[in-house]
């Protein structure tokens, strides 16, 4: 499985990561290994099997539309590095 340098840079951009030249080399190799590993499964013969779209064949796991308020509201923001007036305070985003 070949992974191009551009693909690694693209993925890094999507993840907001700045990679050094060394890291690009390393991750290209790592990514190829990961894909090769995952590709093992393609060797299985599936000729007589139906296509499946999930590993979990259960369906329609649904809940009723009934309000249940979460009680411990203060805990929700407890780990926020910074908060003001009940909101998460983050660097300016526009």
């Amino acid at each position: 499985m070949n992974v191009s340098r551009e693909e690694i840079i693209h993925m890094a951009n999507l993840a907001d990561l700045n990679l050094s030249e060394e890291e690009i080399q390393k991750y290209t190799k790592d990514m190829e290994d990961i894909l090769a590993f995952a590709n093992e499964i393609n060797k299985v013969n599936t000729d007589n099997l139906d296509e499946s779209i999930t590993a979990n064949e259960r369906y329609n796991i649904l809940r009723k539309d009934e309000v249940k308020e979460f009680e411990d509201k203060d805990a929700l923001l407890q780990n926020a590095p910074s908060q003001k007036n009940g909101m998460f305070h983050i660097p300016k985003m526009i």
């Binding site: 999930t54 369906y59 329609n60």
Partner: protein, 480 residues
């Protein structure tokens, strides 16, 4: 080439918040407003280890919308993750639907100035809304409120069948009206519960190939869409006319500046890396389920319109306006239960009520009295208790005070004068004061009669029975 040589091609992606009581994947309330982060729990705040569970009403409402818009309802459907980073999206992915949407291949019919037209619906899928960022309210930085995160949405994607801003406007209003009728969304644009991404391209008339399109995100008023499309169409034609090429990009409409602004450069072309959502089970929709929903569907505007034309003999124009929102339609039908005079009820809604709504700049859902009140008001005219001109005053008071028509009439002493003795007294008084009008009438000027009736109405503050005034003036004039 001139502007007229180009054709505008548009497609709309409409996001509508569903009016469920709870969020899509947790039991938090969906109410609008509320102190920041008070309608939240570990699930919609994306705390590690939490798992989503789908709200059954979301499936039901999305299927309802699909049926109302003539879609095929998928037997099998699933959720997918749409990955992107933004601080209003706590999981860093949105649970949406990618390749197996719940509804596909539908259409709705709109009335354009050239007649009926079908607009194709590519798909309808459901997904979760994001939170809200507030800026600079308390000094530097941004502030994240996740009350809206996880509120269910449906996204209705149209085919590129829309030709111009006017059709887009009609289409959006029609979709809004359908969603209101089937009661799956409040469609409050000012609260952001209905918003549209608008795709626009232009091509030379006769070309079959679509031009390069640009997309304007999160438009939440009819006026903004009109202005933005007009601007964008001109911008694209200007580019093509000067030999340039339209770039495919996402734009933001700046209402204040009246221009579109590029949001992202194309280097950053969107790559959402969709993949099946492993935390949710598949959705299987049985034929019986679809049939059950079909059986319980409220009557749609199209069907109501046809009924108004054929059963109540209303003109098509009137029927169109009455069914343009469920609020008018319900008002009409509710008033008819009290007062069986369809033409009169229709006229009162079409002219007086719509006029007052426009003047006061309020929406039809905010009419402060009941359909029964309107019916009673019209009955009072039919029975001769009040005149039409008094009824107009009563209606204004109903808007201001929400009081019952009877009470308003009683309070103001507005009961119509139909007593013959009282009316003849007024008639003689007016005749005595206007000898010129009498000779004008004798000289064949019919307008003089109208003037005299008007004076009598003024004298009685609009309370005299106009039919009786007319009759008695004629009698008295012919005696003279």
């Amino acid at each position: 080439m001139a502007k007229e040589d180009y054709e505008v091609v548009m497609g709309l992606e409409i996001h509508a918040e569903l009016s469920t009581k709870t969020k899509i994947f947790c039991s938090c309330p969906t109410d609008f407003g509320g102190e920041p982060n008070t309608h939240c729990c570990p699930v919609c705040m994306a705390m590690p280890g939490t798992l989503p569970v789908l709200n059954e009403k979301v499936v039901e409402y999305a299927v309802k919308a699909g049926i109302a818009m003539n879609c095929d309802i998928a037997e099998n459907s699933k959720n997918d993750r749409k990955n992107y980073f933004y601080p209003d999206l706590p999981k860093s992915y949105q649970i949406s639907q990618f390749d197996m949407p719940l509804c596909k291949n539908g259409y709705i019919e709109i009335e354009t100035k050239d007649g009926k037209k079908k607009i194709g619906i590519t798909r309808i899928h459901f997904e979760e809304d994001a939170g809200k960022l507030n800026h600079d309210e308390y000094g530097g930085g941004s502030f994240v409120d996740l009350n809206r995160a996880g509120v269910p949405l449906i996204e209705i994607v149209s085919e590129p069948d829309i030709r111009g801003a006017e059709e887009a406007d009609i289409y959006l209003k029609k979709v809004k009206s359908i969603l209101e009728y089937i009661e799956v969304s409040d469609c409050k644009m000012q609260e952001g519960s209905l918003r549209a991404d608008v795709n626009v391209s232009v091509r030379k008339k006769g070309d079959n190939k679509l031009g390069t399109r640009t997309e304007m995100k999160n438009m939440n008023s009819f006026r903004a869409i009109q202005n933005a499309v007009a601007y964008e169409v001109k911008r694209q034609i200007d580019i093509l006319e000067s030999g340039g090429k339209v770039e495919q990009e996402t734009l933001r409409w700046d209402e204040l500046q009246g221009e579109t602004i590029s949001m992202r450069d194309k280097e950053d072309a969107q790559d959402y890396r969709y993949f099946p959502e492993p935390d949710l089970a598949l959705i299987h929709i049985s034929k019986e389920y679809v049939e059950e929903i079909k059986r319980n569907m409220p009557e749609l505007p199209e069907s109501r319109k046809n009924r108004y034309i054929s059963y109540y003999n209303l003109p098509e124009y009137d029927a169109n306006i009455l069914t343009s929102t469920k609020y008018f339609s319900n008002l009409f039908e509710g008033a008819l239960e009290v007062c069986n005079n369809p033409k009169a009820v229709s006229n009162w809604i079409m002219s007086d009520i719509i006029g007052i709504l426009n003047e006061k700049e309020i929406n039809a859902d905010k009419i402060p009295f009941t359909a029964k009140d309107l019916g009673e008001l019209i009955c009072l005219i039919d029975k001769g208790t009040i005149s039409t001109s008094i009824a107009k005053k009563v209606l204004l008071e109903m808007f201001d005070t929400s009081e019952k028509p009877n009470k308003i009439i009683e309070k103001n002493g507005w009961v119509q004068i139909s007593d013959e003795g009282a009316i003849i007294e007024v008639v003689n008084k007016i005749l005595a004061a206007n000898p010129q009008s009498i000779s004008d009438y004798k000289a064949g000027k019919d307008r003089a009669l109208g003037f005299l009736i008007g004076q009598a109405m003024k004298e009685t503050k609009g309370k005299a029975n106009p039919g009786m005034l007319n009759k008695m003036f004629l009698e008295e004039l012919n005696k003279q």
